[in-house]
């Protein structure tokens, strides 16, 4: 008996060491475009990771249902990162060579983004970080392969400051106000600090920094401090379970939810739905889109994907905020491919390097967006070699106890504030890494 056991161990070990690691690699196929998808459907951040992934995949399915990109079908494969950097790197390495090579990669984690930023230039694979990642990577001259499309944290924080300034009746009214930033204690949560401090200097308000340790289930002390200091506004830079915990603690300490503003990663259904009425009045940035159950693209998804029984997640969640985020992220990548095909040949397979050109020359005007079914969902996006963000527009939406609805006009991140910060930080990065920034001439190549 003991012998057999030992034998079994030896066998399983041998199998582990030699076998499965060389899982058959699919051969390159010319007629498909491969989208690796790094997701987290388990663990601390699953509530937010899941809808994003569902939206992303549904859009790829929709694209295929519509005939692909000029006839090229999309191939895709998920890999679970669990929000852990090393697993993320493993996933990236695993997927990047499959199906003729990854088109681009979207890590949905600031930590993984940092790690891939180092690897992408070598592999010539663009890293799309729609609404996250490092803010200075907007500068495409230095960060040649990073695309923080349609939103960086600096831009988001800037819009929030603009919004409260408007509420107060002008930037001059911000003087002496107190803003508390409750943030996830990680590079992600720390991103907005630089901008808030810059703005604080300009307008004379106070920023109080309140870090919350991963995963953010213990915030008693944070909210006691808020109760003590009575800030005029609370900005929330959380993710996963931290968001709903913050709102619940705000309720428990009696802080008005109307004075709370979340970033776009802290303003979706999973963050508020189990708080229900308690979250009423809570605001969050909308990264252009909010919950969009009535958008045409959602009707398409419901009809052509879910209607055929091929939907990825639960049907009720289609069109929710994070679902839309995933969907738009996928759309931007698809449109990148389409743009690249315009230059490198319609109906052709696009390499990572060609994809970069496509992403750097995105030009989604309102007409195109309307045609894609995004009317009313988002504004035009136009990127360039030097601007990898492409759009600095955002608005605010508010939870009314049952659903998210917009509660502000559009704002645009202030170039005068953002640009110098981006240039300074990316310049420092370039120095450290000894990167020679690309010139506009380089971009034409």
């Amino acid at each position: 008996m003991k012998q057999i056991r030992k034998l079994a161990i030896a066998a399983s070990l041998a199998a582990a060491l030699t076998g499965g690691l060389t899982v058959p690699q699919a051969f390159a196929q010319a007629k498909e475009q491969f989208f690796p998808i790094l997701v987290y459907r388990t663990g601390a951040y699953a509530p937010n990771g899941v809808p994003w992934a569902n939206g992303f995949i549904d859009y790829l399915k929709l694209t295929n249902a519509k005939g692909g990109i000029n006839g090229i079908k999309l191939a895709f494969e998920e890999c679970e990162t669990g929000y852990a950097t090393d697993r993320g790197v493993e996933c990236y390495e695993r997927l990047k060579g499959k199906h003729g090579g990854a088109t681009a990669v979207q890590p949905l984690s600031t930590g993984i983004t940092f790690a891939l930023t180092e690897k992408a230039p070598g592999d010539k694979i663009p890293v799309i970080t729609a609404g996250y990642g490092r803010s200075e990577s907007q500068n495409g001259a230095v960060f040649g392969w990073n695309f923080p499309l349609i939103g960086t944290y600096w831009m988001g924080a800037d819009v929030l400051v603009q919004h409260i300034a408007k509420k107060e009746g002008g930037f001059d009214k911000l003087k002496g106000k107190k803003i508390a930033l409750v943030y996830h204690d990680s590079p992600y949560g720390k991103e907005p600090i630089a901008l808030l401090q810059e703005r604080a200097k300009m307008h004379g308000f106070d920023v109080q920094l309140l870090p919350v340790a991963h995963p953010g289930v213990e915030q008693k002390a944070t909210w006691l401090q808020i109760r003590q200091n009575k800030p005029d506004y609370v900005f929330l830079w959380g993710w996963g379970v931290m968001n709903s915990t913050s709102i619940k603690e705000a309720q428990a300490t009696g802080y008005p939810r109307e004075k709370m503003y979340g970033v776009w990663w802290s303003g979706a259904e999973p963050d508020v739905k189990d708080v229900g009425e308690g979250a009423k009045g809570y605001n969050a940035l909308a990264m252009q889109h909010g919950a969009e159950p009535n958008a045409k693209v959602i009707k398409d998804v419901l009809g052509m994907v879910h209607g055929k029984g091929q939907g990825t997640g639960p049907k009720e969640e289609v069109g929710q905020v994070l679902y839309m985020r995933g969907l738009i992220s996928a759309m931007l990548q698809v449109e990148g491919v389409r743009k690249a095909q315009e230059r490198y040949g319609k109906g052709k397979h696009i390499t990572g390097e060609q994809m970069r050109w496509g992403l750097e020359n995105l030009n989604l005007d309102q007409k195109t967006l309307d045609a894609l079914g995004f009317a009313g969902v988002m504004r035009p996006v136009q990127t360039s070699c030097l601007d990898h963000m492409g759009s600095a527009w955002a608005r605010v939406h508010t939870w009314d106890g049952k659903k998210w609805s917009f509660s502000s006009d559009w704002y645009q991140g202030d170039e005068k504030v953002l640009r110098p910060m981006v240039m300074l930080a990316s310049g420092k990065y370039a120095d450290e890494k000894k990167i020679k920034p690309r010139t506009p001439e380089d971009c034409k190549k």
Binding site: R5, K6, I9, A10, L13, A16, L17, G19, G20, L21, T22, V23, V39, R41, T42, A46, V50, A53, E78, C79, E80, G82, A84, T85, D86, V89, E90, E93, R94, G97, T110, G111, F114, A115, T117, E118, K119, G122, R134, D185, S186, P187, Y188, K190, E191, I193, A194, P211, A213, H214, A425, E432, K433, K434
Partner: protein, 358 residues
């Protein structure tokens, strides 16, 4: 029949004190190292290098360090992740702040800094032991997690708190391709493993083991518990720190404190316990098991599913991955509490006697 030590007589103590007293072992290990240096580069692809082998080598080094402390000196630590972080961040600071700092120097100095920090956090071991000590080392873990997030000096005032290094070169050779990274890590690992083996067969190693097995008796024969424990903390932290620096510099390139979280500490302790406490070889087995098994499960489960015609969702795969991983850990602890290294040596002993079992 081939694996025998019959006829190999030692005529000097020197010959008897070799690392591998049996000729076949010696040859085997040399062949293995030669294969790792020369053969592997021709056989594996980039994915194997970057996603499996390099992490495996680096975590082997870390697990070796943890094993020196836990396996040889008997001091349980749950703070190894913090010492990796200290190694990585200290190495980073040496690299960017000291002009013309060579990369290798920065990595080693990262290890030295980790050793210094290790000594400080080893002090409680003089008073408390066992699980109390394990929990006490978590203080180091959480303190450094916090320090690297909060103290801007450590991250060179980077606004996000994450740091990165680039343009690694060692003695004029650029360390950027997967192969060069692999060879670099392999060299460091081989050299440091050899040093570790030397330490554990020398007087310091015996002192550590004496403290581990029976600390009062050790004190009675003149071993100073303070010296033995603190050197164990220092040497162990040095190894772990170097591993941390390699993890940051070579594997990730850019990192944040979360790369060295408490999960990493647990992972390292798993490695030495599954691999075998008090065994250099065991550290490698453990690292292989812990690094490779989850990835293996993650890739093989969908394949299994496909065989039976079911499509398993990513979430289910992950859930099964951790369930199977957890069960296998319990299973291994039950069938061989002394770790994979013990299985290995039992196997060898059988082989020595084969085909005559008695």
């Amino acid at each position: 029949m081939l694996y025998r030590e019959n006829g190999q007589f030692k005529t000097s103590y020197q010959a008897d004190q070799q690392i591998f007293p049996i000729a076949q072992d010696r040859l085997g290990v040399l062949l293995l190292i030669a294969f790792a240096f020369v053969g592997v580069p021709f056989l594996v692809d980039e994915y194997m290098f970057r996603a499996i082998l390099i992490p495996f080598l680096i975590l082997s080094l870390a697990s070796l360090g943890v094993n020196l402390l836990v396996g040889y000196c008997g001091q349980i630590t749950l703070g190894a992740g913090a010492f990796m972080a200290v190694g990585a961040y200290a190495g980073y600071n040496f690299l960017i702040r000291v002009p013309d700092m060579p990369v290798l120097g920065a990595i080693l100095l990262g290890g030295v800094s980790a050793a210094a920090v290790g000594i400080v956090f080893g002090v409680p071991s003089l008073r408390v032991r066992g699980l109390y000590l394990a929990v006490a080392t978590l203080a180091a873990q959480f303190f450094w997690d916090w320090a690297f997030l909060r103290i801007k000096w450590f991250t060179n005032d980077s606004s996000s708190g994450s740091v990165s290094v680039a343009n690694l070169d060692v003695f004029g050779v650029e360390i950027s391709s997967p192969l060069s990274k692999y060879l670099f890590c392999l060299t460091v690992l081989v050299v440091l493993s050899l040093a570790a083996k030397n330490l554990v067969r020398a007087t310091i190693g015996r002192q550590w083991m004496a403290i581990r097995d029976m600390d009062v008796a050790a004190a009675v024969i003149g071993i100073r518990p303070m010296y033995a424990k603190l050197t164990a903390f220092a040497v162990s932290s040095f190894y772990v720190g170097v591993a941390g620096a390699l993890w940051g510099f070579v594997h990730l390139g850019s990192w944040e404190p979360a790369a060295f979280s408490v999960d990493r500490s647990f992972q390292l302790l798993f490695m030495v316990i599954i691999g075998g406490l008090g065994s250099i070889m065991g550290s490698f087995f453990g690292a292989a098991f812990i690094v490779i098994l989850p990835i293996f499960l993650n890739q093989i489960l969908p394949v299994f599913g496909a065989i039976f015609g079911v499509e398993i969702s990513t979430a289910t795969v992950s859930h099964f991955e951790i369930m199977i991983f957890g069960s296998l850990i319990v299973f291994f602890l039950i069938v061989e509490p002394h770790g994979l290294a013990r299985l290995w040596s039992t196997g060898k002993e059988k082989l020595r006697l084969w085909p005559f079992p008695h």
